[in-house]
Symmetry: C2
Subunit: 541 residues, 2 copies
């Protein structure tokens, strides 16, 4: 691979101190490449340099200007590394100068991962306004609750106005309706002033189904591997170096230019890479180089469904070097113990004995046969400390992938919700909450999207129907494309002052305070943990 620039973003449009735009576009099989200055109706040719890149320095493009790239003298497309798409995914890109933001968080130090208590937020539904600005108004509340990190669901510009974020097609552009790049910078700055870390959910395993123009520039997709969302991102085939640089520069941008404290890498089991250096190893190495340069800590956290210890093993042991990973299995065991249904992937889970195994071993499946997966599954992680694992009783997926999007509040008694909260917050792992669970929000969190292509809309509806069949769900799924589904998914802040919601909030607050003040709870050494199962009484001690 070409060496990755650590201290500055090079892809897309950047500006010199003299306000000259330096432009770098990767399009290895293009014959020609022009910058189209949208308003001036002017075209400026780029020069082909090594390894499929095209380059230009020009004073003609200034921050705030709209632009496109014209490939082979024919069609014009937005910038794959666009920082801003004010007119949506099909519109022109807007040049931004990221370094304009004046940071005020010099006193901030990213805490040890041990101290993270995550709070997951979908920016569009967390507040009525659905913006970073409105989110900022809630930071004092979150500080009072006691969580130490917010985790923002993906922010990459997505098609339409409503989306969970996993359909993003501009990995460098912050969703414009949320407040764009500068809005995010302001939010992170405000979080750091309240001693709240910011985790960003990023998606490097697929690209959204609408408005993805990356394929016009180069082979971002490798059709040789299958993922549930189509072709995999091309990390090991012809021209993969350009794709790898695109992803790694993106990681570095969030850390360096947005002061993001940790990334939550979506579904890394779908990063298909048989090359000698796995893309996650390269991301780790470059992140380490950045940290050495800046002196700031940054964490790499994976969503991972493989129970494979090499992902969280250090590079020097041949691992992928990730700091931590989610354990969905803790959730599944907890839900089944709490009396939840046992269809779909829950079929593999017994009640309290599996929950006990999750407490002691992190992975419930550490080598046994899984009837759901139809294979022996998992490795042991005895040497990995508790802060390498993130646990939850709810998250966007576990709620929103239910047909009716019910939170625990609609499925469990008030007392059971409290028990589950304690099971998570007092666990020997890192606890993770989903927005609103702390006041037992009764609204669902539904799947919602907003595509302009009717065929795609229909395909998504069909796909979800099929998915629910595995869970033997009965009845009609709410329409993901209706405005109601979106509106219904907003937590109701007004409940917070009411009974019993205020009581639940106080309870969460106390649990969090307890975790923070009791050394035994903060010491995440599972080897000192003893779990006793009293199966008849359904009790763990």
């Amino acid at each position: 691979m070409t060496s990755i620039p650590i201290s500055d973003k090079t892809l897309g449009v950047n500006f010199t101190d003299a306000n000259e735009a330096t432009i770098l576009v990767w399009a290895p099989e293009a014959e020609s490449m022009d910058l189209i200055l949208h308003h001036q109706q002017q075209a400026v040719p780029l020069t082909r340099i090594d390894y499929g890149y095209w380059s230009l320095e020009t004073p003609l493009l200034q921050p705030g200007d709209r632009y496109l790239f014209r490939i082979n003298g024919k069609n014009e497309f937005p910038d794959p590394a666009s920082l801003s798409q004010p007119d949506g995914v099909h519109g022109a890109s807007e040049a931004l100068r990221l370094t304009d933001f004046e940071w005020d968080d010099q006193a901030w130090t990213n805490p040890k991962l041990d101290d993270y208590i995550f709070y997951e937020i979908h920016t569009g539904t967390f507040t009525n306004e659905g913006t970073f600005e409105a989110l900022e108004q809630k930071l004092d509340y979150l500080h009072e609750l006691g969580i130490t990190a917010i985790e923002l669901m993906p922010l990459a510009q997505f098609p339409g106005t409503r989306n969970w974020g996993y359909d993003g097609v501009f990995p460098y552009a912050v969703q414009h309706s949320y407040g764009g790049a500068h809005g995010l910078q302001r939010l992170v700055n405000a979080c750091h002033q309240r001693q709240i870390a910011v985790v960003l959910d990023v998606v490097y395993n697929h690209l959204g189904p609408e408005g993805n123009y990356l394929g016009q520039f180069g082979p971002y997709i490798n059709p040789k591997y299958y993922t549930p969302w189509g072709g995999a991102i091309n990390f090991d085939d012809a021209w993969s170096d350009g794709v790898r640089q695109f992803v790694i520069e993106n990681v570095l941008m969030w850390f360096r230019d947005f002061h993001i404290d940790a990334l939550r890498l979506d579904a890394v089991h779908a990063l298909k890479d048989f090359g000698p250096v796995h893309i996650l190893q390269d991301i780790r190495r470059c992140t380490d180089e950045l940290m050495a340069q800046t002196g700031q800590r940054h964490y790499l956290i994976a969503e991972l469904d493989l129970n494979d210890n090499k992902y969280i093993a250090p590079l020097e042991k041949g691992g992928y070097g990730l700091d931590a990973q989610w354990i969905d299995e803790f959730h599944h065991a907890l839900r089944v113990t709490a009396g939840g249904e046992r269809t779909g992937y829950y079929t593999d889970f017994e009640g309290i004995s599996h929950l006990a195994k999750a407490y002691t071993d992190a992975f419930v499946f550490s080598g046994q046969f899984s009837n759901h997966r139809k294979r022996f599954f998992g490795t042991r992680v005895d040497d990995n400390p508790g802060q390498q694992f993130i646990v939850f009783s709810q998250n966007h997926d576990q709620i929103g992938n239910r047909m009716l999007g019910e939170r625990s509040s609609q499925l469990m008694s008030f007392e059971m919700q409290k028990t589950m909260a304690a099971a998570v917050i007092l666990s020997p792992f890192l606890p993770f909450l989903f927005m609103g669970e702390e006041w037992s929000e009764p609204h669902p969190f539904l799947y919602f999207a907003d595509h302009s292509d009717p065929e795609l809309t229909q395909a998504v509806r069909q796909g979800r129907k099929k998915e629910f069949a595995a869970f033997h769900a009965i009845g009609e799924a709410p329409d993901p494309f209706s405005l109601e589904s979106y509106a219904l998914s907003k937590p109701q802040w007004e409940l917070l002052t009411q009974t019993p919601h205020q009581q639940m909030f106080q309870y969460y607050k106390k649990l969090i305070a307890l975790r923070k003040t009791q050394p035994a709870l903060r010491h995440l050494n599972r080897r000192q943990l003893s779990v006793k199962v009293y199966a008849e009484a359904e009790t763990l001690i």
Copy 2:
């Protein structure tokens, strides 16, 4: 994974000391399974046991009997782990008792890999008879030549009567027309008595296109990965444990029951396995267990096109633990240096400077950009000794994948052939010859096959045409399905006594003797090697 039995084969049909057949078949989604005793017209039901296996002990099936399995009370198929297919791939299986063979090689010790000088043989064309028995008649000749190991192209039962071997569909059955299982045992026994090791080429990356009934029994194929030969073998998806056991038991069978000294694993870059333990790591581990039990050494050698050092790194360093690998790049650099054409994958190769790099670094591409692959390619292997790499100036692929199948004898001068022979045999790697090159055999080695399905025949013809287009080959390819292509591919032993063939034979014999007697040549430490390039004179010293 279930634990793999090391000391005995369990899959298919085996016999107890009391001559009772113990039968084990894997068919995880079958509803019922019957043993069909072919001649008795009798059906005996098997019992379902754990993890998709079906089991039976019966005195009714005896060595020499034909049998089939009936799935779900409907169709009857030969045994996936059949040891013998006397009536071809579509016929019934024959029960064999492998342990009947009386070995006479107790004095044999598999030499260190350092001492291996390989000689590749296609059993069907090596002699007029095309049998193990006829091959055995040539062992004294091979001993005189001085090679220390024969490498047999794949022997798994293939469709029709003529095949390179890579279309095999019964990985446990030795091609019946060659002499079957007992014939191979006799041959290995005879080799060992002449101090010749036996290497067997085995294919675990795909199954042949005709007569593959394995899919009737279970998901041997994982359609989520693409290989040039169709879906990949299922090493990491649902029910993959049964497939893994099928492959690992096959490895162990060759070593334990056939006394094979080393396996040449075909195209391991196409073994797609994202599980926590790569199938090659499992093969290594089980091979180590077998060696510990028997006290005999066995080697695992890979054909590998990834230039990725983890394949030949030890398990304890996170590697896949293979003993050695082919380096095609040495061949490519040598051919270009010798004035060969520079189309197809040769476009990446310069002449003598790349040959010099192969001598010092083993991999020509150890991180540079490859124009042919369109990516940065390769890792360094500075810590790996010479005996981990196998080099050649010709092999079945490099000859037979040419449209006209020309050996070097038809492409290079007599003197150049001698230079190339010296470059290989005196290299700091393990040398590898292709049958007949030692007497400058002028006959080609063509691609040949024999399918009963006309559509498949046509598809193979088309596929080869397309392949040759990349090499800008001109003219009509010989028909792989003609008897002439097969007959023409047989080396002409009668030439051996004639001029200049006898001279070439004597030259090879001397080079091999030189390698064996000069300690400097046998000491495969590349760190003590100094290569100087005199580019103008096209000379390496």
